[in-house]
């Protein structure tokens, strides 16, 4: 079985979530006598390609026309590569990049696709995938019918692959920029300028909910505690709705789905949609005024009280050490 991993990168290196996609791909390859290659798309990709070559053979589509991940171009190149090389399984990590680009490629390749996969097994030789439904309250076992199959896996469900120890080949593929679709024009990106770690990749995440009355309070409470423990900040949907936090901070069913070592929920009641985004965290701490808040049922440690009183105490004690 020929497997192709679509690499997501930050212009310099392979993203951690893509390394989780490699873990999935390598397991399938091992059990189905498959081979794993990966596809790097972008502009000035030498560094990313070298990084990716630690995990598998690399195909690079390197062209100024690919400087931004524009869905129609990227999807067309992924589909072309898959067709030319007879790829039977395409793997990527779940992210907005994959949802946009890889799903469109899936639409060009027959739509045999499962997203957000959190586990897999073979039943009577048939690949069976576990994926959450209904905001994670149910896990369904699904099978795909047809070829090629397209699978995105949750980074939090598979440990990131380690380098294989050998340096794999890097092969450029021909990009004819004038033949690429040009329906979508990239204009700009409002990049976050945060000194804090990315919420998707941080080992500690401190999140705020409805108890935060405004963005100053969010920063003073959630931000300070995150800084005191070297963590990232997250947010419930309520605060995104209220315009207090940006959407990329949202943890939950329709936002980021994460599983850090420590998740601290400050003033979050624990709606099922929020729990879907964090319930697989290793250790969960909940601080909430309401002793009956559902978040406590999902927490390992709870403190009933006002976050406006407790959080400053925590920050002070942490900073004193």
């Amino acid at each position: 079985m020929k497997i192709l991993v679509v690499v997501e990168h930050d212009q310099q290196a392979v993203r951690t979530a893509t390394r989780s996609a490699f873990t999935f791909a390598q397991d399938i390859a091992q059990r189905k006598e498959g081979t794993v290659e990966c596809l790097v798309l972008g502009s000035k990709m030498d560094g990313v390609a070298a990084d990716a070559a630690q995990f598998a053979s690399v195909l690079t589509a390197d062209d100024p026309a690919l400087a931004e991940p524009v869905a129609d171009r990227y999807a067309a190149l992924i589909a072309k590569t898959v067709n030319e090389r007879g790829v039977e399984l395409i793997v990527a990590a779940t992210s907005t990049f994959a949802k946009d680009v890889v799903s469109r490629a899936g639409g060009l390749l027959g739509g045999c696709m499962a997203s957000e996969v959190i586990g897999h097994d073979f039943r009577d030789g048939q690949l069976t995938l576990k994926r959450p439904m209904y905001a994670g309250s149910v896990t369904a076992e699904v099978q795909l019918h047809g070829s090629p199959q397209i699978i995105t896996v949750r980074g939090s469900a598979y440990a990131p692959a380690e380098p294989t120890g050998e340096s794999h080949s890097i092969t450029p593929i021909t990009v004819n920029a004038s033949e690429l679709p040009s329906h979508i024009e990239f204009v700009s990106r409002d990049t976050k300028t945060s000194s804090r770690p990315d919420v998707s990749e941080a080992s500690i995440v401190v999140s705020g909910g409805r108890a935060m009355k405004n963005s100053d309070d969010f920063e003073r409470l959630v931000g300070s505690l995150a800084d005191a423990v070297g963590g990232a900040t997250g947010s419930s949907r309520a605060l995104v709705d209220a315009g207090i936090t940006p959407n990329e901070m949202q943890v939950g069913q329709t936002g980021k789905i994460i599983a850090p070592d420590l998740y601290v929920a400050l003033g979050i009641s624990g709606a099922v949609q929020h729990l879907a985004g964090m319930k697989n965290s290793k250790v969960i701490v909940a601080i909430n005024k309401d002793p009956d808040a559902p978040i406590f049922e999902m927490a390992d440690y709870g403190l009933v009280g006002d976050v406006y009183e407790i959080v400053p105490q925590l920050v002070e004690k942490l900073n004193a050490n």
């Binding site: 907005t96 045999c112 795909l144 959407n247 925590l314």
Partner: protein, 250 residues
């Protein structure tokens, strides 16, 4: 201009999802259904475009399902859609087959814009809009938080993991709605009354010439319980102590 808004019927998100006694499927007895919240946002946006546009704009809301879908479609009409199409299909469709039906509807209706939710909150696949755009060879702008139409050109702000991305696309196009695009209106009583007279055209899926070939089949369900035993602590000091010595995460 014509805007097509495909919608999916999903269980009310306020309700707890339970499985049948034998875990063979979702227990539907206790459920009530609504338009997928992201599709409602897409519909609201289509209506706002109609309200703010100098020329004529027709908003057509589409549903796929059994007759039970009529009620949510009426809600869509009460919000302000001009007419509704109900594609009759009793099969649970995966994103590919939903996109195939929508593709046939687009060919029939020739809209300038397809506006739909970025994902349905039942299967959370986040694929149908992208599949449809790919099949049509139309541009797509997924996860839209702002849509500005200027003639044939549309500028869309997109919510990505890296922050807000702005793209320009040309009509015809597919746009999928994210959370912050707008807040859908509640239908007023007069508009609910008025909606009763608006047409819902029923189209049997068989008439569209689409062959349903499942790409994704479900073979079992399990309840994903994540309940933990919570240790209620008395103070900030005690919490830090436990996190350091017991959980060893600090």
């Amino acid at each position: 201009m014509k805007i097509l808004v495909p919608t999916k019927r999903v269980p009310d998100t306020e309700l707890k999802i339970r499985l049948n006694a034998d875990n063979s499927g979702v227990d539907e007895a206790q459920l009530s259904y609504v338009i997928n919240p992201f599709d409602a946002i897409a519909l609201e946006e289509a209506i706002r475009i109609q309200e703010g546009f100098s020329g004529d704009v027709e908003v057509v809301v589409v549903g796929i399902g059994s007759e039970e879908y009529e009620k949510p479609l009426r809600t869509g009409l009460a919000m302000g859609a001009d007419r509704a199409l109900l594609v009759q299909s009793d099969e649970g469709l995966d994103p590919w087959n939903a996109a195939q039906i929508l593709l046939a509807i687009v060919r029939r209706e020739s809209p300038d814009l397809v506006l739909m939710g970025k994902q349905a909150v039942d299967d959370d696949a986040n694929q149908t809009g992208q599949f449809l755009a790919a099949q049509l060879d139309w541009p797509q702008a997924t996860f839209a938080s702002k849509v500005e139409i200027d003639g044939e050109k549309v500028q869309v702000a997109r919510e990505t993991d890296l922050g807000i991305e702005t793209v320009n696309i040309k009509l015809p196009a597919v746009i999928t709605a994210d959370l912050r695009l707008n807040e859908p209106r509640y239908a007023s009583l007069p508009s609910i009354m008025k909606a009763r007279k608006k047409p819902i055209e029923e189209v049997p899926a068989s008439e569209l010439g689409v062959t349903i070939e499942p790409r994704v089949t479900i073979h079992g369900y399990a309840v994903a319980s994540a309940e933990r035993t919570c240790q209620q602590l008395g103070s900030a000091d005690e919490l830090l102590e436990r996190l350091r010595t017991e959980a060893k995460v600090l």
